[in-house]
């Protein structure tokens, strides 16, 4: 037991170094937003509004919901290729928002594709808050 403890500790540390929690990822975006706009706090409600908003940028995917369905708890389907997409909400898919590079990559691609521009740190913080809270 005494001998396995350090090994266990090392294992936990190495896991922690790779995986982040949705909360931490949301906090990082919120801090970035607060640097631009004093007093910013993230809002799941604003995140939901963004998730449902329709944009006039892309006929095939006017909103997040075009691929992710009306509920982030549901599995979705890519609007063009038909590929199955696992749920966005953390409650339905524990792997969501655990890898900062992956989160940043998909915000990058999908914001450009659906909205036609990059999302702001404030929008990202709100979006992560909604996906963390959606039940």
């Amino acid at each position: 037991m005494v001998r396995t403890l350090p090994a266990l500790y090392l294992l936990l540390v190495s896991i922690a170094a790779q995986a982040e929690t949705p909360q931490r990822i949301g906090e990082t975006y919120a801090a970035e937003a607060a640097a631009r706009q004093a007093g910013f706090t993230s809002s799941a409600k604003r995140g939901e509004t963004l998730f449902r908003q329709r944009f006039a940028n892309n006929d095939k995917m006017p909103a997040c919901t075009s691929c992710h369905t009306d509920s982030p708890l549901n599995a979705g389907q890519h609007a063009v290729t038909g590929k199955a997409i696992r749920p966005l909400a953390v409650a339905a898919n524990g792997q969501r928002f655990s890898d900062p590079a992956k989160v940043e990559k998909w915000f990058g691609r999908n914001c450009k594709e659906v909205i036609g521009r990059d999302c702001t740190p404030a929008e990202k913080a709100d979006f992560v808050a909604y996906m963390s809270e959606a039940r």
């Binding site: 095939k60 389907q77 890519h78 063009v80 290729t81 038909g82 590929k83 199955a84 992956k102 998909w106 691609r109 450009k112 594709e113």
Partner: protein
Amino acid sequence: MKHIAIILLLGATPPAFADRVPLPANAPAGYQAECGGCHMAYQPALLSAGDWRRTMAGLKDHFGTDATVDGPAGQEIASFLERNAGNAGKLGSTGEPPRISQTARFVRKHREIPAKYWKDPRIKSAANCEACHRGAADGNYSEHDILIRELRR
């Protein structure tokens, strides 16, 4: 007893060898993440080397999407695809942009599929191999293992 063993062995052989298109084991780490995000990570043998080169050179507008893969990851994926590409003579020319669904092989294999199935919401697009070929991601395209029952043989 010996005969039974031989019969069993024969039975275990995959019946349609040509319908197995496995993903090479040396696929770069980024292939699944970068190319398998919006569609299945297609096996390189499904397109010729020249068509892969054109596909990778045009990722900025990849069927209407910016699918750019920057830096060494992009080059790694491009050379993996070209190294393991399919036989250009058999696949045929596929137009611009290159589409797997326009290779001679794909067209021949799917010519009996009625048009309405391509529009079926379960399928949606010829890009969606896994809608019908449940083993597509593992390189199994056997016509005996089709998810849509009416199309099974």
